[in-house]
């Protein structure tokens, strides 16, 4: 995945960048399956590698340009990124180890979910049960966000019959 990302950063052919983006999404989905996140992997594969690539290709077709050569070497952004990276690595040193059962993430609300889902909801897929029932408000907000994005795209790209105004 690192190789894909580096090639994406350096390549100037936008079509190649978009296709590599789809490849990167599939690799990310594979990594997510390795992390036991099957729902998330399915969503990432279908949304990231499917819909995102389609939208990018559509936008590329409408824009039709290639990236021009940058006028100056990107030293400052590189330095900024590296600084941010070092700070982040320093921050993550204090986080729990990989697969540590005592980490706080496993101790507060999740045991209640895992233990009580059987008698309260009786839906084997815990992620769906939490998403739709225990945290139903968040999903309502998310659906509204998706709807708003659709409405926004309509508002931006709509055409009237006679002229090209919107």
């Amino acid at each position: 995945m690192a190789v894909t990302v580096v090639v994406m950063a350096r390549s100037r052919n936008l079509f190649g960048v978009v296709v590599l983006g789809g490849l990167y999404s599939f690799l990310m989905a594979t990594v997510l399956v390795a992390m036991d996140a099957v729902d998330v992997a399915m969503t990432e594969a279908s949304v990231g590698a499917g819909i995102s690539t389609v939208l990018f290709l559509g936008a590329l077709y409408l824009c039709r340009s290639e990236e021009t050569r940058p006028v100056r070497k990107p030293w400052l952004p590189l330095a900024v990124s590296m600084t941010v990276g070092v700070v982040l690595v320093y921050g993550t040193l204090g986080l729990p180890e990989f697969s540590d059962p005592q980490a706080p993430i496993h101790t507060h609300v999740v045991p209640r979910y895992l233990n009580e889902i059987k008698q309260e909801v009786d839906v084997p897929n815990v992620v769906t049960a939490v998403l739709a029932s225990y945290r139903g408000y968040d999903t309502l907000g998310e659906t509204t966000v998706v709807f708003t994005a659709g409405a926004g795209v309509i508002a931006l790209l709509r055409r009237r019959r006679k002229d090209r105004a919107s």
């Binding site: 099957v38 729902d39 992997a41 399915m42 969503t43 279908s46 949304v47 499917g50 819909i51 389609v54 939208l55 559509g58 936008a59 077709y61 409408l62 008698q119 309260e120 909801v121 009786d122 839906v123 084997p124 897929n125 992620v127 769906t128 049960a129 998403l131 739709a132 029932s133 139903g136 408000y137 999903t139 309502l140 659906t143 509204t144 998706v146 709807f147 994005a149 659709g150 409405a151 795209v153 309509i154 790209l157 709509r158 055409r159 090209r164």
Partner: protein, 142 residues
């Protein structure tokens, strides 16, 4: 052309399976990975595939624009409707326990309708965005 023919035949073979898979992911989301979002995206992808192979006009005949726009809104309304149903039956907003005398079945019913609403909105939005992008390019070329 011969290449076109191969694509069309393959598309005609694959699209029913993709649609079936979308329905499977939707309804089997309780027992395996899946759920509303994935099903909505796969459904939209099937129609986009059809539009890419057979032409945008065919896709518009199959799923016309007013249908797509109303799908976007109806999904959110279904979701809100489930919440209001919870209110009307005496519980809180989006309370699934009161939807049925047996509270576990009430949860099942609530989750089912909520996922249907989510899938409808997601597939409608994805398809509508695709239509808008494709439409913009078509008018540009005139």
């Amino acid at each position: 052309m011969r290449h076109d023919l191969v694509l069309r035949v393959i598309a005609k073979l694959l699209i029913p399976f993709i649609l079936l898979f979308a329905l499977y992911v939707q309804f089997h989301g309780d027992f395996g990975p899946g759920g509303g979002f994935q099903a909505g995206v796969i459904l939209a992808a099937a129609v986009i595939f059809y539009g890419l192979i057979f032409g945008l006009a065919e896709a518009r005949k199959l799923v016309p624009e007013p249908l797509v726009e109303s799908m976007m809104a109806i999904g959110v309304l279904i979701y809100g409707g489930v919440g209001v149903a919870g209110l009307l039956l005496g519980g809180h907003y989006l309370d699934y326990f009161v939807l049925d005398p047996n509270s576990v079945l009430g949860q099942h019913r609530g989750i089912f309708w909520v996922e249907v609403g989510v899938a409808t909105t997601v597939s409608g939005v994805m398809l509508k965005i695709f239509y808008m992008f494709a439409d913009r390019g078509k008018v540009d070329e005139e």
